[in-house]
Symmetry: C2
Subunit: 407 residues, 2 copies
């Protein structure tokens, strides 16, 4: 049995005609001899419509409320799944919709951001064996108490890859409204090229590009489960980008893509006493409050006090300040400086593993253009620089051209 | 624990404000010390919207398709249930929505017309014991294969009464857009009175009145399970009509109400040979095809041939003709006559058991007004006459006045 998982996002199911178009695509795969599992998102606009209804009855984040919002929102995918099954049937294809309850897709109980734990592959397999297409609701699972929990925005990608892994599918196709993954945001770098393939690792590092195309958690899952993911457009028959769990480093270009994340903020704690447990003290409360810290630097000044600088997601800035305030007071810091106007520009490529000097070249390209680098980090497969936001797009174009990524 | 089941229909949940109004009503019952189970229908218009979407992908009644249409339509109640739970929470009431899967409401697998088999009262009871309101999706159940099946239009009433029976509730309140059950259709008899109470048996016989107010199957269930049903308006605090599983006959008026069912057709098979197995032969194919026959008469003509006349629901007329055709041929009938323009007018009351002469009075009243009676049947608690449709409303007014039912 050659199993194919296809995931259609909300835009791909935006109206009756588009559902029909998606169904025809699935019918072609069936005619091709594949056993197909279709994973669907809610029709475009539906999730927001439901959230707006929920908003009419107050706000809040208590578990009781979140449970109901999840139960409400999850109906969007149920509607899509039933309609998709009907559309397939109208083409003479056997099809059956399956909710998270019916496919026994288990997850933890974190409403609105649940994680998949397991899938009942036996039921699904016996359905496929009857020659039927299985149309599974994306974006949702059932927790240990039988509650419906959603996987967070874009969670249907994760559903699709999780099913592909559980069912040992040949491939997982992610149908979306773009042609694939690009070397950079084409809105910023007009000569950005669509990549024919990219390694899972590069895709993970290109998070800010990738996040627009598919959910990062699903790429991790695909990597772990060794599933080939094909990100492609619903609106054309051209191939998109294959995200490969393994690509031989030697074949890969040194730099695969350039990403820029403008949703960053920089925090500096100035005038700290120099003591060995300093960093531990500063970052402990942030860890407790689940605030991810990205780049970190520590500088000793001429007055022998220490300045600790780090970046976080801009949306977490207020939470971060509240979190570190007591520690900052305890450690007798002079002041806390904050800059919301920073961006992180990154060059990514697993080819870096076998090529030296990439970080050096990034620094040279940026400083050659007069762009100040505030913080930088170089890992095995990525070089990231924190720069003032106003230089973000310029930096992308310089790096994109400098590494010869253009079309 | 004093358990109350409340059922809100689609009009009672027509928009956000009405859901809020319903939630306040439930909150009052909670404040009153009741443990409340709320059963909800889909918001007004939602079921039709979903059916229209399904209609975009063809028609047909194969099981595969009906399964998906049921899965689709059932989301309407899920949305209502989650919103109702949120509305209750916003009033400071603990509440949890439960789908048919979650409350383990089992039914048979007849899509679009399933029958409830059992309810898991243990789960529901433990939820009520935590002080939470349980908001259950009406109109749907889970069959043995885990498929969602709907109970047919108005099935939420049945869900409510079934839960009331399973949970040994004190009462089942059915909130609707009318004030209760009337002695006759107020649109036809302007002086029709709202009944304060009615026996389950009378309510069953007043099917054509009752069907406008609540589903007949739910009345049967309430009778069997000895549940008091209170049919009342969502839009006022006045008491409606109590449907009582037992009312002492002696207390009851002779005639409780007058009903008229215009959805009738009369079929006559003329010129049949007179033989003892005649009726069995004629009605066997109808029974096999699940076509309910109502009134039946058999007359021997002067030529010693027999005419069999019966009434059925007008909507089943074509099916009935197809069903009896082979038998009619075998029995050598002369012709089959059909009249779609007949109505059945009925006077109902369990008081008839102890009062003679009701049938006689019905016949006298109608013939006194020059209304021809084509067929009639008199049971312990009902007298029904088949008359030409054009006399239907007039007949109702005459009987309503003749039995002194007016306000």
């Amino acid at each position: 049995m050659r199993i194919l998982v296809q995931k259609y996002g909300g835009t791909s199911l935006g109206d009756v005609d588009r559902i029909r178009m998606a169904a025809r695509r699935t019918a072609n795969a069936v005619a091709d001899g594949r056993s197909v599992i279709v994973v669907v998102s809610a029709m475009a606009g539906e999730t927001n419509r439901l959230l707006k209804l929920a908003g009419c009855f107050g706000n809040g984040t208590d578990r009781q409320r979140l449970r109901e919002v999840d139960a409400l929102v999850a109906t969007g995918e149920e509607v899509s799944a039933a309609l998709m099954a009907l559309a397939l049937q109208s083409l003479g294809i056997r099809a059956r919709s399956l909710t998270a309850h019916q496919v026994l897709l288990r997850c933890d109980g974190r409403f609105q951001n649940a994680r998949i734990r397991s899938v009942d592959s036996v039921e699904l397999l016996s359905l496929l064996e009857t020659g039927s297409v299985a149309v599974v609701t994306g974006f949702q699972g059932i927790d240990d108490d039988g509650n419906v929990a959603t996987l967070g925005r874009g969670g249907s990608d994760t559903t699709a890859v999780a099913l592909a892994v559980a069912m040992r599918a040949e491939e997982c196709e992610i149908f979306t409204d773009v042609e694939g993954v690009y070397t950079a945001d084409p809105g910023v770098c007009p000569d950005a090229r669509k990549l024919d393939r990219i390694s899972s690792e590069d895709m993970l590092e290109l998070a800010s590009l990738g996040a627009k195309v598919m959910q990062i958690r699903s790429v991790e899952l695909g990597k772990k489960g060794r599933i080939r993911i094909h990100v492609r457009s619903t609106f054309s028959d051209r191939e998109g980008t294959y995200i490969m769990p393994e690509i031989d480093d030697l074949e890969s270009p040194v730099v695969t893509g350039i990403a820029c994340d403008a949703n960053q903020a920089e925090v500096s704690i100035v005038g700290l006493e120099d003591r060995p447990d300093l960093l531990a003290k500063v970052f402990e409360p942030l860890a407790i409050d689940d605030i991810s810290v990205d780049l970190i630097s520590q500088n000793v000044g001429t007055d022998r006090t220490v300045t600790v600088t780090f970046t976080i997601e801009a949306s977490r800035l207020d939470a971060a300040r509240a979190s570190i305030e007591p520690v900052v007071r305890d450690l007798g810091a002079r002041e806390v400086l904050v800059d919301r106007d920073v961006a992180k520009v990154s060059a990514v490529g697993i080819g870096m593993r076998t090529h030296a000097g990439v970080a050096q070249k990034v620094f040279a390209l940026l400083s050659g253009a007069g762009i100040p680098i505030r913080l930088a980090i170089s890992t095995e497969i990525k070089v990231s620089c924190i720069i003032p936001s106003r230089h973000g797009e310029e930096a992308m174009r310089i790096l994109h051209a400098g590494f010869g990524l253009g079309a």
